[in-house]
Symmetry: C2
Subunit: 251 residues, 2 copies
Amino acid sequence: MPYDPSAFPPFAVTVDLVVLTVRNHALCALVVRRGEPPFQGRWALPGGFVRAEEDLEAAAARELKEETGLRSHEPDGSDAGAHLEQLATYGDPQRDPRMRVVSVAHLVLAPDLPAPTAGGDARSARWATADSLLGSGDGMAREGDQAVPLAFDHDRILLDGVERARSKIEYSSLATAFCPPEFTVGELRRVYEAVWGVALDPRNFHRKVTGTPGFLVPTGGTTTRQGGRPAQLFRAGGATLLNPPMLRPEV
Amino acid sequence: MPYDPSAFPPFAVTVDLVVLTVRNHALCALVVRRGEPPFQGRWALPGGFVRAEEDLEAAAARELKEETGLRSHEPDGSDAGAHLEQLATYGDPQRDPRMRVVSVAHLVLAPDLPAPTAGGDARSARWATADSLLGSGDGMAREGDQAVPLAFDHDRILLDGVERARSKIEYSSLATAFCPPEFTVGELRRVYEAVWGVALDPRNFHRKVTGTPGFLVPTGGTTTRQGGRPAQLFRAGGATLLNPPMLRPEV
DNA sequence: ACTGTTTATCGTCAGGGAGACGACTATGAT
DNA sequence: ATCATAGTCGTCTCCCTGACGATAAACAGT
């Protein structure tokens, strides 16, 4: 079946964003309220059409900036900005009732932001805990502030994004993407604890991260912003892969 | 930027397949020769348009069957058939000189096949070693039977697929997808050795795979098809994740 | 100033897994 | 019979991890 540019089914291509951060010791995702049908009034992942001459990653970065004001930092070394990577593509013929839409979902990991919707457009946007959006993962009905599923297949996309984040911080230094440019070992540990939903031993965690070459580089400064004894400040080192990986406690 | 079904850029959506197998102790990929421009006469990954009412995975499974006669086995438990999973999506505006094409690449892992093009259509198709297609990965010019890059951005797609396979057999039982339904520990070890391009200690490998619960289940039979002492035959167990993972030797 | 609380950081110890190899077994080929 | 080829079982050591004690340095309250 060779390419035939004169006869192909018409598709719309969009990008959807799973924007994750850690707030109040909980993994949170950015959701926006839909202003028009279908799914009017329901919460959904931010996203939009890919433009005619726009790369997929560029479209994701543009939507991210439009919705949150966040800059994504390309892997060219610039530090400020959020981590952005392609997640997966969703193309069920029925996923949008109006037309055939293929959505290339992207995953964004960002440090905690002061303003939930800084730089966003007119639509209401907010952070919601992943647990509340995903119904706590135990099949129970959702509780609290979020009672209904997300629009379209965004529940599935969010779940895939959360799973990707949970597994990827095991073997990469990606957890630092949730931290400010300078952070303490304890702050990094709280990121792991929030994303995995478990408690980690502070002493073993400290040994592990400071003993992995290239993971953390000390900046020389200290901080007491978490209370207690002053803690050393670190920046993310050059290493992207963690070998051996950080082990996620079972059950 | 809410959905606007009345005004969206027109896209074509295709699926491309990275079909990998292990032949002669080497990782091989399926390539087909293009019969028409652009890139006429060049080798490319198999693939084609997604139909108007067709799911992405269904399109990948259909193309796979058209090109190789292989059935992909859905995760519904049926055993025969190749493993199929979504790989990534490629949408550079310039990746196809004729029009805007977004391609959802899929990764297929198959046991060694008797006929390279069984069930394929009229186009010529063949297996080529990943090394020859990717230029040995050391920046050297390609040698042997394959001297030119693949069409479009298929070099990049193939590289991503090979990387996915190499990393995924570390922490999953996916290497069994390269094996026939019944296989020996030594055959499984040769899969790892071919995919990773390293030599593994037979004794430690044997201890590792037979000691991981749920990875292998003995069928009771034995075989001498590899020569030497008869080896126990196994089937893939129910476990999909390997914990702890199989460690890839460094360097 | 003293005490309790909180967080950070260093140390110790036991158990498990992996790498390095030795040894033995069971086939087919010469 | 002998050799070559694979497969399988053991052993030993090292390193990493989990469990957990102990110390250090800040702040809050009295």
